[in-house]
Amino acid sequence: MRESWQRLYAMFCRYVYLQRRSLPRILGVVFWPVMELLVWGYVTRYLQQVAVPLAPLITFLIGAMICWDLLYRSQQAVSLGVMEDVWTRNLINTLITPLRLWEWMAATFLYGLLRGLIITVLLATLASALYAFHLWSLGWALGLFALELLLFGWALGLMTAGLLFRYGYAAEALIWGIPFLIQPFSAVFYPVTVLPPWARAVAQVLPSTYAFEGMRHVIHQHTLDLELFWRAMGLNGLFLLVAVLVFRALFLSSRASGRLVRLGIE
């Protein structure tokens, strides 16, 4: 176990070294979320002025944007973790160390958590200063739903990483595309009830839907809806299980067919 932790820590350090070395990477992490916050923040402020009775509802837009970013970043950390080794032609070097696949993926999970925490703190501070939206005042219940989004981000990241092993560079766009595939159905910025029936059916199988619904409940009612929490948790468990199986199957098929090696030296 100590050896596993050492290898996991080594990979975690690799991602941290990589991040701190490059100014464009640091800016890449904070630039887009901050820009998004500015846009959504001012949209919120405008809507609050023209639709005063709906002000508390509209406030949720800022919170939703911050929490969506947590899901997006955790998914990206996992898939970009794999792609970093492909881009730098280091994949083979990594794969011939005693590092186990689960240790590698766990390192990307931790790295995603670190990135998510940094961005969330940064955005929450900015939102508080610029728009008087105090994320922390919403309490620990919001943190539980944020955890659900983090878990779902990891599951999506694992599936994306599996597809990267299977399809190589052809699947690169999925790193940025997959989260937006589920965004319209996750009821991020609006209640799930506004979706048409067919879209609501899709929404029902996504843990993110229950997480965002739960967050809205916390903001409006100031209480934790346990049913939404457990539904999200159950679906996350299922998604993580499927993600692990998909990732493993795609990795093994990629190794057997030689695609894995080609990806390492292309």
Partner: protein, 251 residues
Amino acid sequence: MTLIQCAEVHKSFGAVRALNGLSLAMQAGEFVGLLGPNGAGKTTAIHLLLGLLTPDAGDVRVFGLSPVRQRTQVVRRLNFASAYTTLPSNLTVRENLRIFARLYGVREVERKIATVLELFDLGTLRQTVAGRLSSGEQMRLSLAKSLLNDPELLLLDEPTLSLDPYRAETVRQLLTRIHQERRLSILYTSHNMREVEALCHRICFLHRGRLIADGSSEDIKRQFNADTLDEVFIRVAQSGELVTQEEPRHA
């Protein structure tokens, strides 16, 4: 002690047959050159030994273990450097070595890093980002990485490909020294016949995924009635028919 044992190994990539019944053995302490024209199956063989590929048929054993099913036990005891892979370009030389040392579970990480840096004359570059190194320096870094875990078996895929003659000679001398001092077993691929002749005690010649000749450079030249290994190589590359008339010799 047999380190490598390949028995009737077949591997295809779609319609391309990369290995076609390869049988090969390597004993501890040997310095073996794996030769053959492009597409002969050298790199595929090395990737099978590293557990990066699974054979379609046949058996691959390294240290008597399966590199796929007992991967962790196998990879702890070997290492690999290639002209076709690089270490992360955005980390410094020292950071790269520190990460790989931890991945291999090296004890006394900093001492070990200092040793390999000195061995490959990389001390002054320790804080340099790998992406800013010349291709020769990057190869030396890969070689330094490959010795971090004190491997019993080193697999080298064209390690002098990107080096200037002076550096290539330095690396050859270093490999000879390490091989002699540590009794390190080395499997080496190269297209530089003179280099292989100078370094390797035994040469395994591959063609169309099969072993067609196996022995010392003198044995091989005699088998093909050639004066140089270059001549053997050119004949093999030009005509598969010529060599398949010969009975392959196994170690």
